[in-house]
Amino acid sequence: MDDIFNNLDSFVDGFSWTIRLTLVSAAFAFAIGVLLTAMRVSPVPLLRASATVYVETIRNTPLTLVLLFCGLGLGNTMQLQFSDRVEWDVFWLAVVGLSAYTACFVAESLRAGINTIPFGQAEAARSLGLTFGQNLRLIVLPQALRTVIGPLGSVFIALTKNTTVASVAGLGVQEASREMRLLFDQGQTDVLVVFIGFAIGFIILTLPVGYFFGWLSKRLAVAR
């Protein structure tokens, strides 16, 4: 256990980056995901097509490659600089990649949610004279969101774990798995103890989130 407590600061340091990456990326991923979903059900065929192409492309690319494009393509080749401090610069680059990737899964979940809404709902809305935007905003999306809270929780948890990839792939965010690897490389600690310590860290991060979303999805379930 000493191996954990003696290295508590690298533990805390690593997980603080993990949590920041997760929360910020989740917010952006959700926003982009909703936008993509709106595009996919919109009356303009071109918007529908471009959203589909986006989702199918990014979803089928390994996250490692997506982040590599952010680190070397966006950050380096295209000179997109977010901050003078390297650690914040790579943080925001990682956020771009993680949100772009996660947004696809948010969009897919929402689409599945829209599938479950009886179309009488939308028809009724139209017969009241609601426009497409109103229909989506007031009738369809609120119901869809409530039905997919469970899957969205899973996407959120997957995102938490995916932040580890930002430690490699040309970015080098110093999140938890990187700190764990550093302790391994230094060779002064028991590998098994350190691994279990960091594993418990991730379980603590993901388990309550899972229960929270489970509770929420039950509470907000649409009774039909």
Partner: protein
């Protein structure tokens, strides 16, 4: 029938009149302009910075030696590792998925803990750990599998072990959901015929579960294949690593990453199409496709469903019949275990 499918036939919006049609044309034009602007920005920036479109950065991919020396061996390693990991993960998934359904608590509880633990841990951490503890782990594996030679933990083994444990745990949940989705009458009928528990599982439940879960299983294999790209971090010579080596020699990181992405997308899209085709076939044969546990907290399937495994299996191609039991009152939404409507 569902909303999305109807959206072409305009459920969310009325059939456009002349004014609306004009407006949509304007939107289309704006979209095109935005897309072209974005594309132009990327193209120009890539050109200005480091001359990424220079012919000499792309010609290596036209030379057969690049393919025979780097890309094809890399692809073989990626597919090989994915294939080996798939086989082990399926075995792991069946064992632990059935284990979690056991009547004996001493089987059910440990199986559940193993599955939940490995679903909560990032794959990258598993790979790092496997590499770091390689020596003792190799000995342990040699002992456990009782093979007449020493198992060596090299990058290949580390990647396969990581992929197996993680995806195996997810598959265990898929199998469990699939078995749960088989109507109760099936096993009751089997028991009444005098079958033993193992026979019911083997002859009645598992075959039906595998068939209904096939699309979800294949989608998980897409995840597995994509995740094998993490092997490049521990210098396992898979496809991404092969492209890294090309980039080191030819100094064309960006072009190499683009070609690599295209290949991955092609492979994964074909696997996705296969899943969709299977789902359609299931639907034609009157079986619904069950969906795996998304509602964390509802059951023990809490910790972590991987990014793709939850949303994707539930996504229906636009013209398949609706997957979810809409008339049911399942509170967990479209992806709840057993949310499918098995037509036994």
């Amino acid at each position: 029938m569902n909303l999305l499918q109807q959206s072409q036939a305009s459920v969310l919006f009325d059939a456009p009149g002349p004014k609306a049609r004009a407006r949509y044309t304007v939107y289309s034009v704006i979209t095109i302009a935005a897309l072209i602007a974005l594309l132009a920005w990327v193209v120009i920036q890539f050109d200005r910075r480091g001359d990424q479109w220079a012919a000499e950065k792309w010609t290596p991919f036209l030379q057969p030696e690049t393919w025979t020396a780097f890309i094809l061996p890399g692809m073989a390693n990626t597919l090989g590792a994915a294939a080996v990991a798939t086989v082990f993960a399926l075995v792991f998934g069946v064992i632990f998925g059935i284990g979690r359904l056991s009547d004996h608590a001493w089987v059910r509880v440990p199986a559940g803990m193993v599955v939940e633990f490995f679903r909560a841990i990032p794959l990258l951490m598993l790979i790092f750990f496997t590499m770091a503890i390689g020596g003792p782990l190799g000995q342990a594996l040699t002992f456990v599998f009782a093979v007449p030679f020493r198992i060596v933990v090299d990058p290949f083994t580390a990647v396969v072990i990581g992929l197996t444990l993680y995806n195996g745990s997810v598959l265990a949940e898929i199998f469990r959901a699939g078995i749960n989705a088989v109507p109760k009458g099936q096993s009751e009928a089997a028991y009444s015929l005098g079958m033993r528990k193992s026979q019911v599982m083997r002859l009645v439940l598992l075959p039906q579960a595998v068939t209904t879960m096939m699309p979800a299983i294949i989608m998980q294999l897409v995840v597995l294949l994509k995740d094998s790209a993490l092997g490049y971090i521990v210098a396992f010579p898979e496809m991404l690593r092969a492209f890294t080596l090309i980039a080191t020699g030819e100094q064309n990181v960006i072009p190499a990453a683009m070609v690599c992405a295209v290949i991955y997308i092609a492979i994964n899209l074909s696997l996705t199409r296969l899943a969709i085709w299977l789902e359609r076939r299931n639907a034609r044969r009157g079986r619904a496709t069950a969906h795996v546990g998304a509602a964390p907290g509802v059951d023990a399937a809490v910790a972590a469903v991987p990014a793709a495994s939850v949303p994707t299996p539930s996504v229906q191609p636009d013209d398949t019949p609706e997957p979810v039991d809409r008339d049911g009152t399942d509170p967990a939404g479209p992806d709840a275990p057993g949310g499918g409507r098995p037509a036994g």
